[in-house]
């Protein structure tokens, strides 16, 4: 290369770098006149960011503590963990058992019968959800129902199954619980089963009967979209040795799951008009897996191949950065920061409504629960944390995801218009969603280096944000996560409105040096939650500071 060319190239590189630097960090634009990305008032699962599970899956002891004997404490836990949206599994079985439990004259016999099944009067949890403004996505199962719930006998004929599910819907309507039902899910991960045609045929008989009772109800059908080596496949295979595809040997593959979904759509073709949502479960936060941009792409790709479901909205009723092969990684604050990114990405997807972190009742989710040991869900090594303070009564406290959900959902409950999404590098709908995957990948690189006593590579953090407003546009709330290790001042510019008051910053951050430390339940948390007012803002420009390793909301009064 000649000297002249070298000089020109150098000048060009410097110029590009200078321009790039001048634009960094990108200004947050909050345009009150913009068409919102979405309006959460249209979602039955608003504020949409919630949890799988409902404290109804572990034991009768926990369910009774939560919904009967400690409702005031439970309401506070719900607030502090931002658990406004829940999702009980096998909701119709739970309801049948509960109704029998409420009326039986022999509770002792039922307790013996259902040693591993939760027994609780359904009014206890439905009334709690109603009192606290919560929403539930009810996951139904139609493989079979209780013929006699008191005795525990099962039947699977379609007529009885349909009647039980419809009785359940009718009970919800008759008791005024419609307002706390976000919708119904047609089975939990049925794609691990074998016969999508039969599965679709049975739901095709049940769904119209359900709709005749409650025509406006939302119904979601589960679909699978997997990729090779997806962590969830191995995890499910490890714990589900009774499934045919394991016994058959060699037949199982991610492709088979995806085929199942297509065949299920075809089998349900006469009932698609009654389906409002498609449902996905995403596990794995590496770039190739579901929890991130690849997951969003899979949803779009499936809709291209099966355009008959393209108009359906989306629920992600289970998600997590790892599946059961690593349940303990969720107890680090780096996991909370990653969730801070992923939640914002989902919030900014126009077609996605409720998303449910798996799960509320374990250390992977919003609450830590102890009945002698703090439960790490299905840890194959049994590494639940011992609870030396346990004295025979369940203990519950907010887990490491809780503050993130609490900060975001509190803002969203009063600011339902989602207006803009970006990060300190870019804004626009296609590129920003990679922030969560890039951060996640770099955290694993750092943790691996730590374990080998090698120098840590830099973290690929970012400041990601979502702008929200209230319906009358008198208040703005910017949801933000900073996964970098340094503070950043994010410029913000308003259009169509002006600042008119003091910003209130609600944040959670972690003690220095502990972003990868496992939090120990039962002890003082390593994270720090704070709320502070900043100096009054006027005009249309400002700077929103965010500290390192921090999730926050900044809420500011506006005027026209």
């Amino acid at each position: 290369m000649s000297v002249v060319k070298t000089v020109i190239c150098s000048i060009a590189v410097i110029a590009v770098a200078t321009v790039a630097q001048a634009e960094w960090p990108v200004t947050i634009i909050a345009d009150a006149d913009d068409t919102p990305i979405k309006d959460l008032r249209n979602s039955t699962s608003a504020p949409d960011l919630g949890y799988a599970g409902a404290m109804l899956e572990s034991s009768t002891l926990i369910a009774e503590w939560f919904y009967i004997s400690n409702r005031v404490e439970s309401a506070k836990l719900i607030r502090d963990a931002g658990a406004w949206v829940v999702r009980p599994w096998s909701a119709n079985d739970l309801w049948q058992r509960g109704m029998a439990w409420a009326t039986t004259k022999d509770r002792e016999a039922m307790m013996k019968k259902y040693r591993n099944g939760v027994l609780i009067d359904p009014h206890a949890y439905f009334s709690f959800w109603k009192e606290n403004g919560m929403k539930a996505i009810l996951c139904l199962e139609q493989y079979g129902v209780y013929g006699d719930a008191e005795k525990g006998t099962r039947v699977s004929d379609i007529e009885t199954t349909k009647k039980v599910i419809c009785d359940y819907v009718q009970w919800i309507v008759d008791n005024g619980y419609k307002e706390c039902v976000a919708g119904f899910e047609l089975g939990n991960e049925p794609y691990f089963g074998n016969d999508p045609e039969l599965y679709g045929q049975r739901w095709s008989e049940i769904v119209p009967a359900m709709k005749s009772i409650w025509p406006e109800m939302k119904i979601g059908m589960p679909l699978a979209e997997y990729r090779p080596n997806d962590p969830d496949i191995a995890a499910v295979r490890a714990r589900a040795t009774g499934l045919d595809w394991v016994q058959g040997g060699g037949e199982f593959s991610f492709g088979r799951l995806n085929q199942w979904s297509g065949r299920f759509v075809v089998a349900m073709s006469n009932q698609l008009h009654n389906i409002s949502h498609v449902i996905y479960h995403f596990y794995g936060a590496d770039a190739a897996y579901g929890c991130g941009p690849s997951g969003f792409a899979r949803v779009k790709n499936f809709a291209k191949v099966f355009p008959e479901i393209a108009d359906k909205r989306v629920w992600i009723t289970e998600w997590r950065e790892r599946s059961d092969e690593d349940d303990r990684c969720h107890q680090t604050f780096s996991s909370s920061l990653w969730k801070g990114h992923y939640l914002l990405s989902c919030l900014a997807q126009p077609n996605i409504d409720g998303i449910s972190l798996h799960n509320l009742a374990t250390l992977a989710g919003g609450l830590a629960v102890s009945t002698g040991s703090w439960m790490v869900q299905w840890d194959p090594s049994g590494r639940d944390y011992p609870d030396p303070d346990y004295e025979g009564v369940p203990r519950m406290e907010v887990g490491p995801s809780g503050p993130v959900f609490s900060i975001y959902t509190e803002a969203l409950k009063s600011h339902p218009l989602v207006l803009n999404h970006g990060n300190c590098e870019k804004q626009g709908k296609d590129v920003i969603i990679w922030a969560c995957a890039l951060y996640y990948g770099s955290t694993w690189a750092q943790v691996n280096a730590l374990a080998k006593n090698k120098p840590m590579p830099p973290v690929k953090g970012n400041v990601e944000w979502v702008v929200t407003m209230n319906a009358d546009k008198t208040s703005l709330s910017v949801l933000m996560v900073n996964s970098n290790t340094r503070k950043l001042d994010m410029p913000i510019k308003l259009k169509g409105v002006k600042f008119a008051g003091e910003p209130v910053v609600k944040s959670v951050t972690i003690a220095e040096g502990h972003v990868y430390s496992h939090l120990i339940p039962g002890e003082r948390p390593l994270w720090k939650i704070s709320e502070q007012k900043l100096a009054r803002l006027e005009g249309d420009k400002a700077v929103l500071p965010i500290g390192p390793n921090t999730v926050q909301s900044v809420t500011i009064p506006l005027k026209k």
């Binding site: 944390y385 011992p386 730590l450 496992h518 120990i520 002890e523």
Partner: protein, 191 residues
């Protein structure tokens, strides 16, 4: 970084090198339990916060299987050649032997009845940050759980912090931080 900062750091590093050292804690889970349940003396003001952690350790790990002081660096080799239990027992150790130890850093090792876990209860009443190197006779250690009582204001107020460091390192023996002016229990499960 200017010259003054570099000089300050260099002086600090030199000062640390004079005081900071590591000491070894030998753990043999086959050791029979010591019936002496005396608690470690803690810094003034730290009693209440320490009490809970001591109580938790005693509840979950009832058997005392080792106790001792940190070996002073100049005596390190000779002390470590001895059995720490024999060396520490006041009835049989003469005054000279006691001088070999830094009595600011005192520890007890407790174990579960099933001997599948142990806890190092350690008090550093001194002003030097130390590390303890745990030598486990049999088995492999998992990630430790730290429960620490510390003060950020020179001992006026005391607070607690608990955490588990990320992922097990393959390094052996295990190195446990014992910062100045702290009380801590470090629980380690063994597989």
């Amino acid at each position: 970084m200017n010259g003054k900062t570099i000089l300050s750091l260099a002086v600090a590093a030199w000062a640390c090198s004079l005081h900071a050292y590591s000491f070894k804690v030998k753990v043999d889970l086959a050791e029979s339990a010591d019936t002496n349940q005396t608690r470690l003396a803690v810094m003034k003001g730290a009693e209440k916060a320490s009490e809970r952690y001591f109580r938790l350790a005693e509840k979950t790990h009832p058997d005392v299987i080792a106790r001792g002081f940190a070996a002073k660096p100049e005596q390190k080799k000779s002390v470590l050649d001895e059995d720490p239990m024999d060396a520490f027992d006041a009835d049989i150790v003469d005054d000279d032997a006691i001088q070999r130890f830094d009595k600011d850093i005192e520890y007890i090792v407790r174990a579960t009845k099933g001997r599948n876990s142990f806890v190092l209860v350690v008090v550093n009443r001194g002003k030097s940050d130390l590390t303890a190197e745990i030598e486990l006779k049999r088995g492999k250690m998992r990630e430790p759980v730290y429960r620490r009582v510390y003060s950020e204001d020179g001992g006026k107020t005391w607070t607690t912090m608990a955490w588990q460091p990320p992922r097990a390192s393959d390094l052996y023996p295990w190195t446990v931080e014992v910062p100045a002016n702290t009380v801590q229990t470090v629980t380690i499960t063994v597989k």
